[in-house]
Symmetry: C2
Subunit: 419 residues, 2 copies
């Protein structure tokens, strides 16, 4: 089944808010064999909303909309839907009851605007929004369906999972099997990898598609197959996975689509190792990425964020002579940070960063983007100096990712040594 | 001038990658008085690309596309453009030279696929991509313009700023003035704020629009005005700003659109105060948010991320008796973390968090989402227990935002006391 997504909100067209709903929806309907054909972002404008619905119904069987259902005047989606599907606004007691419950849970009081959420077009069937005040509306026309959902990502995500997807599955059904396999690859640039896989690509069955999704430091390779015969599809996908494993070996650090922090976490957990970080320019972002992974307390113990030289010396025991002679952004300082944080926090492994994230603080010999990174596992320690391009947030992100990948590589080598 | 944005890439329709290019473009063309009318996300599919261009040209004077220009087989945008605008593929020496430079800067070697980037339709004018290998293509048809840009956000952002926007400004021109004013408001829910501002809203001139953009813990109020007479517009916007100030007072924590971490940073800097953090469940995210702001080393000194009780005790000096009696997620532990980190790292202010981010670790008395947060400024200390809904990343984000807002409020009260 093909789906159109319409994302509604002026704030999206001036870039003040980034739409994450459409990506979430795509990720969650895809495994059901449903195909998001297009995503359209438009303003809070009745004419645009109606024309986008027309276009959606012309090309696909299902239209999902998010946004424009808030209680304030700038939100007009509900009235636009009433005009499109006909009928009149009616008061719905069940919605009012639900709004009261939601508002009470948030320790707030109901007011006139929130209460107005209880009015909906009588041309729709209401799905109660258990986590917000804007009701979800299900409309049908000539066998096609439109579901209007709120713009708040948490509400749409929760209600899609609990109610909307199950109800859509009942309503529609899919005969085609779909499978994805994702491989996280390091050691290659995108084009070098494409050359390495040239022959492999030529022998992929027509109904399986290979995509390269580069990210800083890694490339995600994704195989997508769609085929009526599920067993045949799985069999083909398995064969292709084995071929990729034979060609790329240890350059594949994961056979599942997961964050680099989770891949690192799995390696640490399986070897019974723990990790800490000592961060200067990354300011806690390495620790943040590691602890975003559920269960990370199994292997992550803690960090010292040492933004000032005083803290590098007093807490992390970096030599003041070295700080003066070589500066904070230097190999000997980052190595001391790395060594000492693992002693202090009693972990086998550690990651340390010291660099100039910018925009200020650069010099001719150490321009903005210069970052020393050090990783340690037991007796092995490895450090390297990088020159990352781009803005402050980009330098921080690249240094964070690089630190985790350096530790992954060190652990991979350790494994080889042990074997 | 109205603009259509077309974002191209299969990876976007299955939600593996979130489009940030369209938001960036919208944010940057808006102050020029240009109006993004719609954003369309489609797959790497020739028919879809051509139909989206047709639709874009039908509704707007300028079409901007991003994506699908990579060197690998799945990227077909260039060939689709050639079919649409006619002509044949030609080899462009200047592109080859540029590709060589870019590749060398990255310490990589050129290969056949990268070299193929030097072929472009002869129906376009090339804008050299100084930060990547995919050339930017400028097409014209009947006075309308299409610019095709790469999908890598860094490349599109850099080249839009350096070349594409300046060239578009030369080509088109705008007679209408546009102004935005954004106000960051705390202390209100969205609907309570709308009620507070009911009378204010009724008196806004027709050509100025008010939008409510709620985020966890804050509401961004945005006034947008478009008017031919620039002086009149600025005058009206100033008047409305003054009215909002009179109505909302200190609940407006910023008269500019900036991150909460930057607002906190400005308050700390202007008062000559420094800050540190002691983080358990937020795992370094408070420090990360604070240090994402350029110049944060003026007031941020460092953090101790204490994921284990051992580190809470050994480094932060939390009493082991209290850890045993009350547990790590308790008022007395979070207050000790807050007090002691500011002594240890020698800062006047501090933020501490201890909670259960989930999905594991919850209990009946302390379910997932329970977070104790403490803030301190000199002799004043304030702590509170929250119950945040949602997934792990949401709990971390909410706790981070709440910690910073609590310190902002404490600083606001301190100011009142001092006055």
């Amino acid at each position: 089944m093909d789906i159109s997504i319409i994302v509604i909100g002026d704030e999206l067209l001036i870039g003040q808010v980034i739409d994450t709903n459409s990506g979430w929806i795509a990720r969650h309907v895809n495994p059901l064999g449903w195909n998001v054909k297009s995503i359209k972002v438009i303003g809070d404008n009745e004419k645009e909303i109606i024309s986008a619905i027309d276009e959606g119904f012309a090309n696909t069987d299902l239209v999902l909309t998010t946004g424009g259902l808030g209680p304030t005047k700038d939100d007009i989606t509900k009235e636009a839907m009433r005009k499109y599907f006909g009928g009149k606004m009616i008061y719905d007691k069940e919605i009012k009851k639900n709004v009261l419950e939601v508002v009470e849970k948030r320790h707030l009081k109901i007011n006139d605007l929130t209460a107005a959420q209880a009015y909906v077009p009588d041309s729709c069937r209401v799905i109660q929004n258990r986590v917000g005040t804007a009701p979800i509306m299900w409309f049908e026309r000539q066998g096609k369906v439109l579901v209007a959902m709120p713009g708040v990502p948490f509400e749409t995500e929760q209600m899609m999972e609990r109610e909307v997807i199950p109800q859509l599955m009942k309503h529609f059904c899919s005969n085609e099997s779909i499978e994805h396999r994702t491989f996280i690859v390091i050691d290659f640039s995108e084009s070098a990898l494409a050359i390495k896989l040239e022959q492999f690509e030529q022998n992929i069955p027509k109904y399986i598609h290979l995509a390269y999704l580069p990210r800083p430091g890694i490339i995600r390779l994704r195989l997508t197959g769609r085929y009526p015969d599920h067993a045949q599809l799985t069999n083909d996908m398995n064969k292709l996975s084995e071929q990729l494993h034979a060609i790329l070996g240890d350059s594949i650090i994961s056979y599942e689509d997961k964050p680099v922090a989770a891949i690192l976490g799995d390696m640490l957990r399986s070897r019974g190792l723990t990790v800490s970080t000592a961060e200067s320019c990354t300011g806690g972002n390495v620790a943040h990425e590691i602890t975003e992974i559920a269960g990370s307390s199994d292997y992550f113990k803690g960090s010292v964020i040492s933004y000032s030289n005083d803290i590098k010396h007093r807490i992390l025991g970096v030599s003041t002579d070295d700080l003066t002679t070589y500066g904070a952004v230097s190999q000997c300082v980052v190595e001391q940070m790395c060594e000492n944080v693992s002693s202090l926090l009693k972990t086998e492994c550690s990651i340390a960063t010291s660099g100039i994230a910018g925009p200020g603080g650069g010099s001719q010999s150490k321009p903005v983007g210069t970052v020393w990174i050090c990783v340690k596992c037991k007796t092995r320690i490895y450090s390297e100096c990088y020159q990352f391009p781009g803005t402050r947030d980009r330098v921080i992100d690249r240094a964070t990712m690089t630190g985790m990948l350096m530790l992954i590589k060190l652990l991979r080598e350790n494994k080889e040594t042990e074997e």
